[in-house]
Amino acid sequence: MSKLHVTTTVNGEVQEFLCEAEETLLDVLRDRLGLTGSKEGCGTGDCGACSVTVDGRLICSCLMLGAEAEGREIETIEGMAEGETLHPLQRKFIDMAALQCGICTPGILVAAKSLLERNPDPTEEEARYWLAGNLCRCTGYDKIIRAVLETAADMREAS
């Protein structure tokens, strides 16, 4: 069976790849495009470690086929910092020690960025519900939620 040829935009750059029909977007990002920031925690939509946005919408890249990416705009963790300048969420996660092993972190950052783009002033409850699909085995969530809410406050002040 011949491979599928897909053209898509990842973090603003046009990318072309060949993939099998069964391959997930996560497989493609990691194994074909070398973007290993998105992690595979479960492969079944439960953990959120593979979170990316597609045409601005947050999804699990393990539950989308690579072939579906044709013509779409994908944003991954690799597109979050601008060069050496970290996104305020990334900076805050480091400052507040909102990560330990770091497996969940790329997904949580991508998900949190998507939240703040839609809702610059989320309540704690809104932030917890938004991130309910992002599991973390290490931090106990409290530091994560606090880092997200503090970043939101900083960003509101700065704008």
Partner: protein
């Protein structure tokens, strides 16, 4: 596996009808890809319906709403008109999974996956929703409860797919609600679920009611007796108690890791009375 991404409904039907092996519709993929991943499904081909523009819209039609089969839960939640007309259906759709799952999952996928615990299904059934089925013979509309026929099974024939869901014109003074019980507050499968839709007269008396239960039988259950009992009542304490008793009696649950038969039977009644109270308030009724 072959991957097809047709851009018209006719083309999708042609591919499905012409397929010899196991050819599946791919909507949000939040069930199908999990099944493929877990070695529980090995399709020869998938037909991705998300490139069919007509299936991606929510449109007003004859006073009701038509929701395309490729519309995801998040899009339903963002649609102010739909939310205002059918808050119970939208809240049920939005209970499916996480933010990430909401960005993909469809109510038609929820229906066609045919899990007894599918959250949006009791709400659609209570709403009197119709599924529009497209196939080689043309188009037909059927009540949503006729689509799933048992766990993992549907009444769809070879070459058929569901193109959209139609939520009918909402009478004045109507309201609907869906509640489910899960041990956590998010990301879990219903132990029991209940959808209620009510229409009131000017004095707050119920004219029409539909009640449907999920996760307490092999498929969604319409509790016709509950609807008959509610019609003509004012939803006072005695009536709510009776509603709970009828729904518990109608429940046919099994015992599994999520709950015992006894517990589910009880909780079906509790959810029914609570959902009825919410639907009644949404319809503009005031409880005495």
């Amino acid at each position: 596996m072959d991957y097809h991404a047709p851009t018209t409904l006719d083309a999708a039907v042609d591919i499905l009808a012409g397929a010899s092996g196991d050819c599946r519709v791919l909507a949000g993929g939040t069930d199908l890809l999990v099944r493929m991943r877990s070695d529980m499904a090995h399709p020869d081909a998938v037909v991705d319906i998300k490139r069919i523009a007509s299936l991606r819209t929510i449109t007003e039609e004859d006073g009701g709403w038509r929701i395309g089969a490729a519309v995801c839960g998040a899009e339903m939640g963002e649609h102010a008109g739909l939310r205002a007309a059918w808050p119970g259906v939208v809240e049920a759709a939005q209970l499916i999974g996480s933010t990430q799952v909401q960005g993909r999952a469809t109510i038609v996928g929820n229906l066609c996956n045919a899990s007894p615990a599918a959250d949006s299904v009791p709400a659609m059934v209570a709403a009197g929703a119709l599924a529009r089925i497209a196939g080689p013979e043309g188009i037909r509309d059927v009540p949503v409860e006729e689509v799933p026929t048992g766990p993992g099974k549907t009444s769809l024939g070879h070459g058929e797919l569901v193109a959209s869901i139609f939520l009918p014109d909402r009478a004045e003074r109507s309201g609907d609600a869906y509640l489910r019980f899960i041990p956590r507050t998010e990301m879990d499968i219903a132990v029991a679920g209940c959808g209620v839709s009510l229409t009131l007269d000017e004095d707050g008396g119920i004219i029409r009611a539909r009640v449907a239960l999920g996760a307490v039988g092999p498929g969604v259950m319409v509790v016709a007796e509950a609807g008959r009992m509610l019609a003509g009542s004012h939803l006072r304490e005695g009536g709510l108690q009776q509603l709970a008793t009828i729904c518990s009696a109608a429940a046919r649950p099994i015992t599994d890791k999520r709950g015992t038969e006894h517990y589910r039977t009880h909780i079906a009644g509790v959810l029914a009375r609570r959902a009825a109270v919410i639907a009644y308030a949404r319809a503009g009724g005031t409880l005495e």
